[in-house]
Homo-oligomer: 297 residues x 3
């Protein structure tokens, strides 16, 4: 069951939210391609769970769209805190590469995927005023790092692993995602992840300032929930205002179209950042991965 309908605790308008979200779900076909579960807990804590069985919760397009709907719903609710987790011992191993041949080799389709589906989901998280606690076990790679980067507090198990080894797949990180990840993990780790396909332990990522705390693997769900409950017991309006201010500090003021932010210049400027779609390198990376052979660049 993808979108569970019980809402307890401090969610005053939970019932209306559920009706709205349930409508979204009916329009989606998530049977084969994973799903983003939402489940209300006690005291205003909402649980959002990535589930893609057999793929370590890799994000499909459907899941990115569900992620957006879920967080738009949470933003419209009176939820006090979100716990973001993955099912079955992983947080999220990345994107669902099996879908990539269907759209990645066309620049317009590739842009649509990153700017609308992926960024739609991530931006809904970033735009959510409700605090989000990431509960990270196992693989937290690529899309997993991006999703974790949108969380406010990051609790990870000692055995969790982090990285974004997409250079093995023959493509760069999309600009908005690179900005998000570089700010969250720091430039040094971001360059190691992207250029060297380096992976990092939880201890590494604590030292890099990305993780809030590292706990024994078995304790991750309980520690993340404890963090969420602490947050949910504190002043909810103050939390939302703090998140709004920290977000606004990163948003350059509007200038009547005269001063676009650097990221808008990159995404919409004369050098299309998605022009690599049809490159031999990109095709080789994806094709080799799906053929289970090493790529030759």
């Amino acid at each position: 069951m993808a979108w569970q309908s019980q809402f307890h605790g401090g969610l005053g308008d939970g019932a209306a939210l559920v009706r709205r979200l349930w409508g979204c779900v009916k329009r989606m076909d998530s049977k084969m391609s994973g799903e983003v579960l939402m489940n209300a807990g006690e005291g205003g804590v909402v649980h959002v769970t990535l589930r893609h069985a057999g793929r370590l919760n890799a994000m499909s397009r459907t899941m990115w769209r569900q992620l957006r709907s879920v967080f738009e719903g949470i933003q419209a609710s009176s939820a006090r805190c979100v716990v973001m987790a993955g099912e079955s011992g992983a947080f999220c191993a990345g994107g669902d590469i099996s879908e990539y041949p269907g759209f990645r080799f066309d620049a317009a389709a590739l842009r649509d995927f990153h700017e609308n589906d992926v960024w739609g989901g991530l931006n809904a998280m970033l735009a959510c005023d409700v605090p989000i606690v990431a509960s990270i076990s196992g693989a937290c790679m690529g899309a997993g790092v991006e999703i974790a980067s949108c969380c406010d507090v990051r609790v990870a198990g000692a055995a969790a692993r982090f990285g974004a080894p997409i250079a093995k797949l023959g493509f760069p990180m999309a600009p908005r995602e690179a900005q998000l990840v570089a700010a969250a993990v720091g430039e040094t780790a971001a360059r190691q992840m992207l250029l060297e396909a380096a992976t990092f332990t939880a201890a590494d990522m604590l030292a890099r300032g990305f993780l809030s705390r590292v706990v024994p693997d078995d304790d991750v769900p309980a520690e993340a929930l404890a963090s969420a409950r602490r947050i949910a017991a504190l002043a909810p309006g103050a939390a939302r205002m703090n998140k709004q201010v920290l977000r606004a500090l990163k948003t350059p003021p509007a200038l009547d179209g005269k001063a676009p932010a650097a990221i808008e210049m990159i995404v919409s400027g004369p050098h299309d950042p998605y022009a690599y779609a049809d490159s031999a390198e990109h095709r080789e990376g994806i094709t080799a991965f799906l053929a289970k052979r090493p790529p030759v660049f």
Copy 2:
């Protein structure tokens, strides 16, 4: 004695400074609400000390105003380095909450407090070209973290504690202060402090990149003074120029009023960041604290 009048060492215009500052002091009534002491040491080192007996040097409005006067005076002097400390085993435990019912529940008065008194003091520190060494023992919370964030070098004792648990008091951090603290402690720690009311050890804050060094508690004053003396023996003009450049890099260039910085948009924009003044949540937080009972949000 709040503003001690002896100036030794490299303070060429120290006598004139003292006369000017002494005039300020006479205009202030600091008997009941703490004080900010200034005392010239040897070799151009100036000692600034927060003192609020029985309140772990919590900052009163009077102290914020004194802080501004003290640092405006230091900036106008030939001081070579400042050691910033608190009295009696604490750095600063936060704001003086006993004063809050007098002004916090009115939006205009609240704005005046944060934009003029608090930011007046912090901005005088940030605008000071003379290097500042924080000597941090014990509690460094809320206003204490803000004051420490305006220092250049931060020396702390192993038992010092850091945080900004104002979510327990029902209010968010004011925008300029949030920008300052998030930049100094990093976004990860800032979100834990603000959303979870988390506190951190000195070892944590060293790892977060906030502290310059952690030393045994008994050694804090001597280590901070040693750092100040090292700084004071080096080229004073170069130090001032380095501080000016690092400050200017954070200051967006003027644009004929066409491109206000994000922080100005937040503070002066259509969504008043102080509109929460009269909220039930804010009243509950302050009231519960003063009544020594847990708040119910």
Copy 3:
């Protein structure tokens, strides 16, 4: 031999590159003042080596200009990764102070040195889309930290030492260099380096997020090469695009000349950041160093 002419591996246009670079070399007289060596390795890895015998590879003006030529050449080539190192057990101990009396005490000449020679070299590194791995042994001070700050991955030996103790020499860090270093080492370490003339161990700089990894001193060349080979085996176009995006995120968009970046305001604004050239403090710092006596500021 300064510019070795053999190119192997994945450097498709290596021969043309070598011809062009060789022309540059003929126009330079680098006999007495150090040199920047370039040597192509296997698989698209290029080795760039700082060599200034007897001066721990301190950067002379000639070397800054060679650094620029080398990286402009690499950018125009099909190189896949650069290993940046110093000869004889040091990375780079700073600038070549013996040259300083010849130009530092005149503001225009000082500006020319920093804005054209030093920044010319550093900016060529920053503008290079080819990933750069720093292989850091021994002294990495001043100019060494600046050069390392332009690298993507930084591998250091346990005994390496880091700092920028130019306050001992009586001058501040030039604005563009200060922006570069503060972003790479963090504000806390930058202020300690510049104001306190503090030096840091490799472990310190790993904790500060500057270093990618610290290895036993004897293993530095092999570990840096292994990192470069990992990078060179991955998708080269993706690497270049990742570097382009991370660079563009730091570059404010053009505004028809209406919104210069803060750094341009500092460098070209009404307060000349090089006006200190003829100051007593500056002369004392340089003069005392060359006379091997302590400066008196």
